[in-house]
Symmetry: C2
Subunit: 373 residues, 2 copies
């Protein structure tokens, strides 16, 4: 995903993948930040993220797809391979599911040394209501052969990454692909998928980081041996060095984010809070739901207070709201933090989990604020 | 807009405004880049930018507005001041207008020395279909008094900028405010304004840079002397040093942008083009329409070819498409550029126009590409 020499990028063809790390922020990272949108943190106030505020990560370009000529090819280790039009898919049983989705690289820019590239701080998340049809129904109708082990999803987005020219492709293990809640999606928040969310069809895999939710789907291929494509075998893996095989990135770790309280200074985003009680609130989620606790610190993580976590997730796969009231803080500067604990008892760390590609860093959010006198 | 000491930001209260410039890119600029979205350049292929891909600049936070209790106060130098609900506004004569809108800071990060802050490269633009009612009708019904000189528009977005705590406010000269095409807008691209575009009501001033298009409108005040608020008297002005009064930023300069051809490398956005003829296309606009010419260079601006500019603007206030075919380029590395000329005969420069705040830099776009063998 990130490569270069001496901290500077080099172009990807035919250079072999080489990760690079730097304190310096490069102009290329600004280009990526402007085109791959984050959620403004005040948008955490909405249980369903308004269209246009959900995070986006497009590895290559958003493709232009003609929905009239587009079809989905469903093939590989199946008794009855098929080709489905958008009409065919819309005629199938319909489901709508609210899903919180987070980029696996969220938190990358909070690592030291910092992996260069898509330099997410904390904002690569959103919750949407996705409407489509269950993948399971399509696969069952096609008849999965007994030797099937994985399902490969190929998008129409085409580019170069790590020196490899490719269509974006990701595989899911068979058991995950047959989960009832994995959807082939053609609508988001009640409207036709806009181009940036995968028009005309995308995959949604609840609970997993975003890389599995393949957009602009063109082909679904059931395979009888593990997929070795770039995104599975190289990119989205946790490794401490380039020679390690690494461990696949799968489900989201727990994370709580707060709506930064008070009002901001424009360029620095420093927050100012009026005197008196201050309600601190936000959302928390995990790929192993539910979130069982959220704690808040007003001293940079030195001590922690227990927030109220609401039982208000829009679905079992979506975030929950939480809140805590900071009673009459004294004027001065503070660093607010929050951290979530999930259904497996995992809690967010106060130190970043470092890995070469900069994935799954759910270190606690830090929000510097000034309480006014 | 940008201030600090020694190239580093300092918080804005009670520090007086101090501009800073740096080659170094700061983490605060990444935060701004992720929350203030740019248009992915391949989205220039659509005449109306899909919802969610139009550029966004929010100085402070996106406010949460209850449309049931919200009203618009129309006051000041008027015979009949009024207060309008959203229903009142929707009951007025309705107009829909396609408008190309660009941030005045677009191109800022291409200046040397670089003004630190909202570090737009070229992507702060979009075209939307805005639906609302003419401001002129409201003002005429309210009866503008003869001593009126400007109209001040106040939003509900609140924050600190240049050491000044403020609601975002901008004034327009009376003659501009009475232009038939200045709209009070409650829908975009056929849907209710989403929060980030100014729900429940915003101003749209065709032809002007974005700063005049005040979002989350709360008050319209007709005044009998020039407005001295921060955004008019300090922020959006062209000046070569901090002691200059400067010249107000008003209408958009001409600009052409191309859809980067071929396919990209993920982190660097370097483009690869297959051998053979290559169609280069994009959009061009100006606050002084129409665009009368677009030229393309394949050698970094050394020589220029004439593109075909289509007479296809979605409205007189929106961009036009252009195209040019690059016949059989030889394999190798190239730097593609494009430049527009507008109705006043102004052409984009190949060197950046520098000013302290980093405004209106319409220097030509440069797209490095590799033609494959």
């Amino acid at each position: 995903m990130f490569f270069g020499r001496g901290g500077r990028y080099v172009s990807g063809v035919p250079e072999a993948p080489r990760l690079s790390h730097s304190e310096e922020i490069f102009p290329e990272e600004l280009v990526l930040a402007f085109r791959n949108h984050g959620v403004p943190l005040e948008a955490l106030r909405w249980p369903i993220t308004p269209l246009g505020l959900h995070y986006l990560l497009t590895h290559y370009d958003i493709p232009a797809v003609d929905p009239n000529s587009w079809t989905l090819e469903v093939g590989g280790r199946l008794e009855r391979p098929m080709r489905l039009s958008l009409e065919d898919l819309r005629a199938r049983p319909q489901r709508t599911l609210a899903v919180t989705m987070e980029c696996a690289g969220n938190g990358r820019a909070r690592m030291t040394p910092r992996p260069v590239g898509q330099a997410w701080l904390v904002e690569a998340v959103g919750t949407a209501e996705w409407t489509g049809t269950a993948l399971r129904g399509v696969l069952e109708e096609a008849g999965v052969l007994p030797d099937a082990v994985e399902v490969v999803f190929a998008g129409l987005d085409h580019g170069v990454e790590g020196g490899v020219e490719q269509d974006y492709q990701r595989a899911l293990p068979m058991a995950e692909a047959l989960d009832d809640d994995v959807l082939l999606v053609y609508e988001v928040n009640g409207v036709t998928l806009p181009p940036q969310h995968g028009f005309p069809l995308r995959l949604v895999v609840p609970g997993w980081y975003g890389m599995g939710n393949v957009k602009w789907l063109a082909r679904i291929t059931v395979v009888d041996e593990p997929f070795t494509g770039f995104q599975n075998s190289w990119a989205y893996r946790l490794r401490s060095g380039p020679d390690e095989e690494g461990v696949p990135v799968t489900r989201m770790k727990p994370r709580a984010l707060m709506v930064p309280p008070g009002y901001p200074d424009f360029p620095t985003r420093r927050r100012y809070i009026a005197p008196g009680p201050c309600r601190i609130e936000g959302r928390a989620w995990s790929g192993h739901p539910p979130v069982t606790a959220v704690e808040v610190s007003t001293d940079g993580g030195g001590s922690w207070e227990t927030a109220v976590v609401a039982d208000d997730a829009p679905s079992p796969h979506a975030w929950q709201s939480w809140s805590w009231t900071w009673e009459a803080p004294s004027p001065g500067d503070y660093e607010l933090c929050c951290r979530a604990t999930d259904g497996r008892g995992h809690t967010q760390p106060t130190e970043a989990f470092w890995n070469l590609g900069g994935f799954t860093n759910n270190v606690v959010q830090r929000v510097p604020v000034t309480v006014l006198g």
